[in-house]
């Protein structure tokens, strides 16, 4: 098994005719993902690569194309609308790659998607891959290898780095999920940890965090309270200088500065293995899975 995407994933690519959308649609098709539809308003009736039908709306992609998952490559000012259209059309998993989506837009998108009973991953994320089965997003397929370790990350390229190092070390992955680094995103660490805990084909989980916010600290507590599988983690930004913070609201709301040291301490206290360098993830995993 795997989490979120697998052989049953039938994908619609929103923004399939754009520069990034078309490039990555091809890559996903080459990887073996079932790309059943594309959406670009005004280009309905055409075919992408002489193969994938393009529709004007996501509704058609669901009704006529049979899509159950969507990936979004539309520009930032149109992304909120694209996410809501996908959920409204009945898509149950919406993955938004687009970077630069206004956060206030997300305050409307998030509850909308929840109410539709769909899952959103992202925005501003690299997507997900279940190696050997399906890839949705932009994670390069060739760096992955089928296996039994789950990976969840707030970062994009740092995810590739860690996955690549795992693969080189002979450690395959059940699924890798990039949740994105924006302040408001659809899926958080705990959602993914829970899914990995429930996935019989995942033995351990790697968690890649960053400075800022308190998601990693909460995830660490979740690991201690709810998980039986080993978890190891890395936090980027250990040497980041403190910013010139404006106003008091940030400190009042979270009571935390969100530093790497704070997060690594939370890992330590809750039994999450702490990697000082990305490469240290490998050694920690090997100790824990034997």
């Amino acid at each position: 098994m795997s989490i979120f995407i697998d052989n049953d994933t039938k994908l619609v690519v929103q923004g399939i005719t754009g520069r990034d959308g078309s490039f990555h649609a091809k890559q996903m098709m080459e990887y073996g993902t079932q790309v059943v539809a594309g959406v670009t308003p005004g280009k309905g009736g055409l075919k992408f690569e002489n193969q994938v039908p393009i529709y004007n709306t996501v509704y058609e992609a669901v009704e006529k194309g049979g899509a159950n998952t969507s990936v979004i490559y539309v520009p930032p000012m149109g992304a909120a609308d694209a996410m809501m259209e996908a959920a409204d059309a009945g898509i149950k998993l919406v993955i938004c790659i687009t970077e630069g989506v206004p956060v206030l837009d997300m305050t409307k998108v998030y509850p909308f998607i929840k109410e539709k009973g769909a899952r959103l991953i992202g925005p501003n994320c690299p997507g997900a891959i279940s190696p050997g089965k399906s890839k949705v997003g932009i994670i390069p397929g060739r760096i992955c290898k089928p296996g039994r370790i789950g990976l969840v990350s707030r970062s994009g390229t740092l995810t590739y780095e860690v996955v690549h190092q795992m693969t080189v070390a002979g450690i395959g992955q059940s699924s890798c999920v990039g949740i994105g680094g924006d302040p408001i995103n659809g899926t958080n660490f705990i959602d993914c940890l829970e899914a990995f805990q429930n996935d019989p084909d995942t033995d351990a989980v790697v968690m890649i965090g960053e400075i800022g916010g308190t998601d990693e600290q909460e995830a660490a507590r979740f690991v201690k309270e709810k998980m039986t599988k080993p978890v190891v983690g890395f936090i980027a930004g250990q040497t980041a200088p403190p910013g010139r913070r404006m106003g008091h609201a940030g400190a009042i709301i979270s009571g935390s500065a969100g530093t790497a040291a704070e997060k690594m301490q939370a890992f330590e206290e809750n039994g999450v293995g702490v990697a000082k360098r990305p490469i240290d993830v490998i050694g920690l995993l090997k100790e824990r899975i034997k």
Binding site: R19, D20, H24, P76, M77, E99, G100, V101, P102, V103, L104, M106, T107, K108, Y110, P111, F112, P126, I138, I139, P140, I143, S153, S155, G156, T157, L158, T159, Y160, E161, H164, G181, P183, I184, I208, E210, G213, T214, F234, A236, G237, Q238, T239, A240, P241, R244, M246, G247, H248, A249, G250, A251, I252, I253, S254, G255, K276, R277, P278, I279
Partner: protein
């Protein structure tokens, strides 16, 4: 994007928030003139994008125009947290009977803008929050419906007993919320919201931070950007669509993705070096971005070695390779360069680099170690 106090006040004023008169001065003489115009006590306040201005001596009370001039001459040109003060706000001083705190922040946890109000406002509000959290009311707002009347009243009742004041406060909450939403803010704060001895409620200080992702649709807000208040190289980088933060080390880093960029800096430190910067060329990079990145990094005299760490996903590594070749043909490098590059279109990228006399590595730790070594040699 940060905006100045005086700009935040103008936005709030335009939404009806009561604020004492104030204008900016760029010279001590202008400050004196404004103090004369307002009469009575004024406050001279440094306009910089940093907190803790009062503690740094950047906020002073003046009884006379001459005193305002004197304060302005001391504050203008002073540095607060590394930022030079170019302007001061001169504003009528208010008599203070009580100080409240009102803020809105985009909250990761509730995924909503959250109002936070406290009757114990002022500069110690963070201690109040830490030690007596019951003195702060937090109220998340569903942006699909906006701040509802009863919510605004509830915030008002948390601050005041007198229903007249509560109604005034509720109106200010609505005005602040409207300003927050229309400006694409991630933070808006009035601290203190002052009650005068006469029972008037006025905003004496204001801060707003704008979500950078909003700027493409808010030209009026973009126009508020004060580039003199920022590090010049950071302004240059932003105009080239790069995210750049200048640091004090000597290893210039060019990386794609914020997480990998931070991890690269962490590794530079781990191997005994010091990063000269944080630089994220972002996704969808084109060769021109790389050219600009190299220009910005090589302009820093401290840089003794350049480290590229590119893991291509949406970024095509051949774009980066082309950028390196173009940039170094136009301006040959004076310091050594270490290129680590792997991912999308890697074969094409390596071919381009090899044909142009560059070698590239594929292991991150090895590349960082080498860059640190070269920088240390160059510096010696």
């Amino acid at each position: 994007m940060n905006i100045h106090e005086y700009q935040a006040k103008e936005i709030l004023r335009s939404h009806g928030v009561p604020i004492p008169p104030g204008e900016i001065a760029r010279t001590p003489e202008e400050a004196e003139k404004l103090a004369e115009q307002y009469g009575g006590m004024v406050v001279v306040k440094a306009q910089v994008h940093a907190g803790g201005r009062g503690k740094a001596g950047g906020v002073k009370l003046a009884k006379t125009p001459a005193e305002a001039k004197e304060h302005a001459s001391r504050i203008l040109g002073m540095e607060i947290k590394g930022l030079k003060v170019h302007t001061v706000l001169v504003t009528s001083a208010a008599d203070i009977a009580a100080e409240a705190y009102v803020g809105i922040i985009l909250d990761r946890d509730s995924k909503k803008p959250v109002f936070m109000v406290s009757a114990a406002g002022g500069i110690d509000i963070e201690e109040v929050a830490a030690e007596t959290p019951e003195k702060i009311l937090k109220l998340p707002v569903d942006t699909r419906y906006g701040l509802r009347g009863y919510e605004a009243m509830r915030l008002g009742f948390f601050l005041y007993d007198d229903v007249k004041k509560v109604k005034v406060a509720a109106k200010i909450m609505q005005q602040l919320y409207a300003a927050f939403m229309e400006s694409g803010a991630s933070l808006a704060e009035i601290n203190p919201l002052v009650t005068t001895p006469e029972g008037e409620i006025i905003a004496v200080d204001a801060k707003m931070v704008i979500d950078d992702n909003e700027l493409d649709r808010l030209p009026k807000i973009v126009a508020l950007r004060d580039e003199t208040a920022e590090e010049p190289s950071e302004v240059d980088a932003r105009n080239s669509n790069l995210t750049f933060i200048k640091l004090d080390g000597n290893v210039g880093c060019v990386v794609n993705g914020a997480g990998l960029a931070m991890a690269t800096m962490d590794l530079v430190k781990y191997y005994g070096g010091d990063p000269a910067n944080f630089l994220d060329i972002g996704g969808s990079s084109n060769p021109e971005k790389v050219v600009n990145a190299l220009r910005i990094i090589t302009a820093d005299q401290n840089v003794k070695a350049i480290l590229f760490n590119i893991f291509g996903g949406i970024t095509r590594t051949d774009d980066v390779a082309n950028g390196i070749v173009t940039a170094t043909k136009a301006n040959p490098l004076k310091v050594p360069i270490v290129i680590r590059l792997t991912g999308t279109n890697e074969e094409i990228a390596l071919k381009i680099l090899n044909e142009n006399g560059f070698s590239a590595m594929t292991d991150m730790d090895e590349a960082v170690k080498k860059a640190v070594e070269l920088a240390t040699q160059e510096a010696a």
